[in-house]
């Protein structure tokens, strides 16, 4: 059994906690949050030991690994403290508020060979994994253009909000929403290294962007477009997609459906010339406990397996999340 703690029991924290609570190889040793209402509910109805000070939790419970799901502004300080105590860390996205912070944490974790992972769950979605495989195998030839998109109904009215509406705390569509798409582009294609121009629009929010559009260039000089809007009510929930044009074909994929077009007969096994459609149901492995999508359970399972030494720590590690943080600041600086 791996002893795991949690800091931050908000929406993502509770989701992680539930998955961890049902995990056969995990013992949840402590939960830390500052919200009285959440803590009293957990104290009264769950078996978890609850804390308001994470340092006391670390002292008393001695977890081997900790999940950090606090507002982004606390990530750097908390994660640094955990690493200094040789604790493996899973932290929510986005990773840090600045590039420097992310770089520092990445080098500490690497130096100490501690397992480090960030919650970009799309990398555990079957369709996107298949897209990466097709691109890396060169199946669609040289990439000529890409378009990464995400739309959803998060902020649909003018309203005072929480930390998510404060730019200094990691709020806004670029940090919170577009980061998922940027992370996918970084992973499937190559890291974003330049922006040729960005538009960050406030639609309903007073202080942060509700939509972001940017022309991107990647480290291998591939170019494409980012288009993300979290004030789009025509979507029931977040819908993330990527379109990639290549010299030998084209890929259009969201988290449910993968459509691939091949120009010639020469294509990978399981595909043929013309349009091919595959569904996530065919590309997804069963999870032991399902809460809200296989990918949320799969990323937790992967982290726990990495702590147990069963898998390499090479999906969503700090290094890759730092590249996403860097892309966020590149896009921001070009507006």
């Amino acid at each position: 059994m791996i002893k795991v703690g949690l800091i931050g029991a908000g929406k993502m924290g509770l989701s992680h906690l539930s998955i961890l609570g049902a995990h056969p190889n995990v013992e949840v040793v402590g939960v830390c949050d500052t919200s009285k209402i959440v803590l009293s509910a957990l104290e009264k109805y769950s078996k978890f030991h609850c804390y308001t000070d994470f340092l006391i939790m670390l002292e008393k419970e001695k977890p081997e690994a900790v999940f950090v799901a606090t507002p982004t502004k606390f990530h750097f300080e908390f994660v640094k403290e955990l690493l200094s105590r040789n604790i493996h860390v899973f932290v929510e996205k986005p990773f840090c508020l600045t590039e420097e912070q992310g770089l520092e944490l990445t080098s500490i974790a690497t130096e100490k060979t501690l397992v480090n992972q960030v919650g970009y769950h799309n990398k555990f979605v079957g369709t996107f994994r298949e897209v990466k495989k097709l691109v890396k195998n060169g199946s669609i030839g040289d990439i000529t253009h890409f378009m990464g998109e995400a739309y959803g109904p998060v902020v649909t009215k003018k309203k005072e909000g929480t930390w998510r509406s404060n730019p200094a705390e990691g709020g806004g569509c670029l940090m919170d929403y577009a980061s998922h798409v940027i992370d996918l582009i970084n992973d499937i294609l190559a890291p974003v290294t330049a922006s040729k121009g960005s538009i960050m629009k406030s639609i309903y929010s007073k202080m942060v962007d509700d939509a972001v559009y940017s022309l991107l260039e990647l480290s291998d000089k591939t170019t494409g477009v980012l288009s993300v809007n979290w004030s789009d009510e025509t979507y029931r929930k977040m819908s993330t997609s990527i379109t990639i044009n290549g010299t030998k074909g084209k890929i259009i994929s969201d988290a449910h459906e993968l459509k691939v077009f091949f120009k010639e007969e020469d294509c990978p096994e399981g595909y043929s010339k013309g349009w091919n459609v595959k569904y996530v149901t065919d590309l997804t492995d069963q999870v032991n406990f399902y809460l809200r999508g296989e990918e949320y359970s799969a990323q937790v399972d992967y982290f726990i397996d990495a702590v147990a030494g069963k898998v390499p720590n090479n999906i969503n590690n700090f290094q890759s999340a730092w590249l996403t943080d860097r892309a966020i600041s590149i896009i921001k600086n070009k507006k």
Partner: protein, 285 residues
């Protein structure tokens, strides 16, 4: 429960295999008339139970049902609460406390509970009861013999080990609504163990059951074993495995399993509704 239950995913752009189909459905079912017309097709095909989430638009459907008492006299609704995206989007924007403030009726942090927060925190079950009442308001005067807790909440509580809350839901539905509580889950065997541990016997559980082993946590062998050997009133949903299985094979598999009381399906056209019903009737024999 009847053998066949009609679901509502198609009306609210819930599609597990395609965002594009999702949008097509939102366009097709823009008007309440389109929903009612399709519900009537289901009734004509012999289905009298509509299992639906407590989406805002269902309130309008309930108005139409109430205003045609003769036409819908045998019609039953199995509400499934809550409509989770409403709360999930609110939590992202307002936080947990802000969401409770917005959706729990009355001023919960003020006059309603003297002493405010401290007391509220201690009475989580009371908050749950108020939320259930708020969700049930739209069904007043409609026959709702089974009331379900949605899978994201059931499974969240299951993972957190909040067994007493699952039990609290059970007790409140029986007491206040004189209805049977049901649970939707993606982890049926684990949920059954947990419910039995607090003395809930032979519960109504709706879960993914299909020949593709899709969203059957713990695996289909364990599900088959559970159905064969345990006391549970099972409803099979996602029988097509998200579209992965041809319909004949899908229905034949589910009909061959023991202990499945009902099959839940959704379809958006008259032809598909009639076709699915006739397949189930065929393989039932």
């Amino acid at each position: 429960m009847e053998r066949i239950l009609y679901g509502d995913n198609q009306f609210f752009a819930v599609n597990h295999i395609s965002d594009q189909k999702s949008m097509d459905q939102a366009i097709k079912f823009k008007s309440d008339e389109a929903i009612i017309r399709t519900l009537d097709y289901a009734i004509e095909a012999g289905i009298n139970t509509f299992m639906c989430t407590t989406h805002d638009r269902i309130a309008k459907i309930c108005d139409i049902i109430r205003s045609n008492p003769e036409k819908y006299k045998d019609f039953k609704i199995y509400p499934c609460m809550p409509y989770a995206h409403k709360y999930a989007n609110a939590v992202t924007e307002l936080g947990i406390q802000g969401t409770i403030k917005q959706y729990v009726p009355g001023n919960i942090f003020g006059t309603m509970f003297k002493g405010g927060m401290a007391l509220v925190s201690k009475d989580f079950l009371k908050i749950m009861e108020l939320l259930i009442d708020a969700e049930m308001k739209m069904f007043k005067g409609i026959n709702t013999p089974v009331i379900f807790l949605q899978n994201v909440i059931t499974d969240l509580l299951l993972g957190l080990g909040m067994v007493e809350v699952l039990k609290g839901y059970h007790d409140y539905i029986l007491k206040k609504y004189d209805a049977e509580p049901g649970y939707i889950t993606m982890n049926m065997p684990k949920l059954l163990d947990t419910l039995e541990s607090v003395g809930i016997e032979n519960p109504i559980i709706c879960s993914s059951i299909n020949a593709a082993n899709f969203r059957m946590s713990g695996g289909m062998k364990l599900y088959e074993e559970t159905l064969r050997t345990r006391k549970v009133r099972a409803i099979a949903m996602q029988v097509l495995g998200g579209g992965a299985i041809p319909i004949n094979e899908a229905i034949e598999y589910v009909c061959s399993l023991p202990n499945i009381e009902s099959i839940l399906f959704g379809a958006s056209s008259k032809g598909n509704i009639e076709n699915t019903v006739s397949k189930i009737n065929y393989f039932n024999k």
